[in-house]
């Protein structure tokens, strides 16, 4: 599902070159649940951004869900992203829309048939246990609920791969546990998961294959 081969990313700040990733290589098979750990600033978010083609790698090759991301043309990026579900620490819900509308919005912009939108959106909300809050606005949600809504939005298009960037970063332990349970649920239904977190205790709790980044270098791949 994911193949990363000797990938480096260097940011230029004026004349200064700042390496964010150095020769990172790993493979994630279809159906795996992999945790990406490392301290803040270790390069986890950068790596995920390279995977969903938000920016190009400086060196190396990346393949995601059958797409050669390294040589992907701009016009092909939407096709790659349609096969991915992406969740962030900040739920990134549209504030002027209800939870239901946030989910339906995705289906609408992807050109889903009108009659499919409502049942699919409710199915996704049910999967994250948020059906009762469908008509609530983001400002009326707890952080845990907002993250559930973000998960529902990510899975409503049935992605092959879920990229979760610190989805529990803003949550207390109980809420974080609930979100992780939901992600495990999604994974158990066949979606490959790559979850980035700086919370090493949480990573250990999951007891899944773990990749560790330290200052942009992959220092551990075990489990």
């Amino acid at each position: 599902m994911i193949e990363v081969h000797r990938v480096s990313k260097v940011y230029s700040v004026g004349p200064v070159k700042v390496p964010a990733l150095r020769e990172v290589s790993f493979r994630i098979a279809k159906g795996e649940f992999v945790v990406l750990t490392g301290a803040s600033g270790a390069g986890k978010t950068t790596l995920l951004r390279l995977l969903y083609a938000d920016e190009p790698a400086s060196e190396g090759d990346i393949e995601v869900a059958g797409f050669n991301v390294t040589n992907l043309r701009r016009s092909e990026i939407p096709r790659l992203r349609r096969s991915l579900g992406i969740v962030f620490q900040d739920a990134k819900l549209l504030s002027g829309r209800t939870v239901f509308e946030n989910i339906a919005f995705v289906l609408r912009v992807l050109g889903a048939a009108r009659h499919e939108i409502t049942p699919k959106a409710f199915q996704a909300l049910k999967a994250v246990g948020l059906s009762a809050r469908a008509q609530a606005y983001p400002a009326q949600l707890s952080q845990g609920e907002a993250q559930r809504a973000a998960l529902a939005r990510a899975i409503v298009k049935s992605p092959a791969l879920l990229l979760a960037d610190e989805p529990t970063g803003n949550l207390d332990e109980d809420m974080a546990g609930e979100i992780l349970d939901l992600i495990k649920d999604i994974w158990s239904r066949g979606t490959t998961v790559l979850l980035a977190t700086h919370q090493s205790r949480l990573a250990a709790q999951l007891r899944r294959r773990t990749l560790r980044l330290d200052a942009g270098v992959l220092t551990k791949d075990e489990g």
Partner: protein, 276 residues
């Protein structure tokens, strides 16, 4: 900002449409006067009935001559009497008819240019019967030059205002994009195609453009409705135009489509600025 965009589009299309109207009506006058170009050959003596057919034949045989009409001295006097109207009595006090007989020569189609009429006049002046040759297309060409000037000025002013309108629509749309950046970010993250992301910008610009065009047309129509009845007597007197015409349906549609294109272009350009 959206209102400014609509106003600028209105302004640019009103200017463009206004110059178009002027040019259109001048063009009609030019076409009408081109049809009426005549070269008049004043004759030294009134030809005898037996000499007239020969003279007419020789003139008709010249290149660029469409028709020849003989105007006798008596006919010329009668025309003068008619054009003097109430003052026609003065003619009766003349001891004799002072007006010469003449040939009114209508140039052929395509021979109404100043060069062609000058060449024709030169040939006619060489006839032994000719006293003087008058007429030609110079002043019609002067009118045509004014028409071209209106076209160029109209296009120039319209283009400058259109550019300003595009920039205003671009700025307006850029602001909207900033407000809606969360929405476009999500659209891109979930894999919406660029077309889907851009359509709202394009539509917004086009709606502003259409609105501007409709307001511009309403202003032009109002100006025409008020101004045309007042200007028509003057047009009749100076250019011989019985009435001023408004833009035709295809021209109106072109102006509306132009507005939509202006607005749409501004909307599309906004993306680059928003991304930058």
């Amino acid at each position: 900002m959206g209102v400014s965009a609509v106003l600028l589009i209105t302004l640019s299309l009103t200017a463009l449409g206004g110059f178009w109207l002027l040019s259109l009506n001048l063009g009609r006058a030019v076409a009408q006067w081109r049809d009426r170009v005549r070269v008049v050959v004043f004759l030294k003596d009134e030809p005898t009935p037996s000499a007239l057919p020969d003279l007419t034949r020789r003139v008709e045989a010249l290149d660029g001559v469409h028709r020849v009409r003989y105007v006798s001295k008596a006919e010329a006097l009668s025309s003068l009497r008619q054009s003097l109207g109430a003052q026609a009595g003065v003619v009766d006090h003349l001891p004799r008819n002072p007006l010469p007989a003449s040939l009114e020569v209508t140039p052929a189609e395509g021979a109404t240019t100043p060069e062609a009429t000058r060449a024709l006049a030169a040939k006619l002046a060489a006839f032994p019967e000719t006293e003087e040759v008058q007429g030609g297309a110079e002043w019609v060409e002067g009118l045509a030059r004014w028409q071209r000037l209106f076209q160029v000025v109209g296009l120039g002013v319209g283009a400058v205002l259109a550019l300003a309108a595009i920039l205003t629509v671009t700025t307006a749309t850029t602001l909207v994009l900033h407000v809606r950046r969360a929405e476009t970010e999500i659209m891109r993250l979930v894999g919406a195609s660029e077309t889907v992301v851009r359509i709202p910008q394009l539509l917004q610009g086009m709606v502003q453009g259409l609105l501007g065009a409709v307001v511009a047309l309403a202003l032009l129509e109002a100006a025409y409705a008020v101004g045309a009845p007042k200007l028509e007597p003057l047009l009749q007197l100076t250019l011989g135009l019985a009435r001023a015409v408004f833009l035709s349906l295809p021209q109106i549609l072109l102006l509306i489509v132009g507005g939509a294109i202006l607005g749409g272009l501004g909307g599309l350009l906004a993306r680059g600025r928003a991304v930058a």
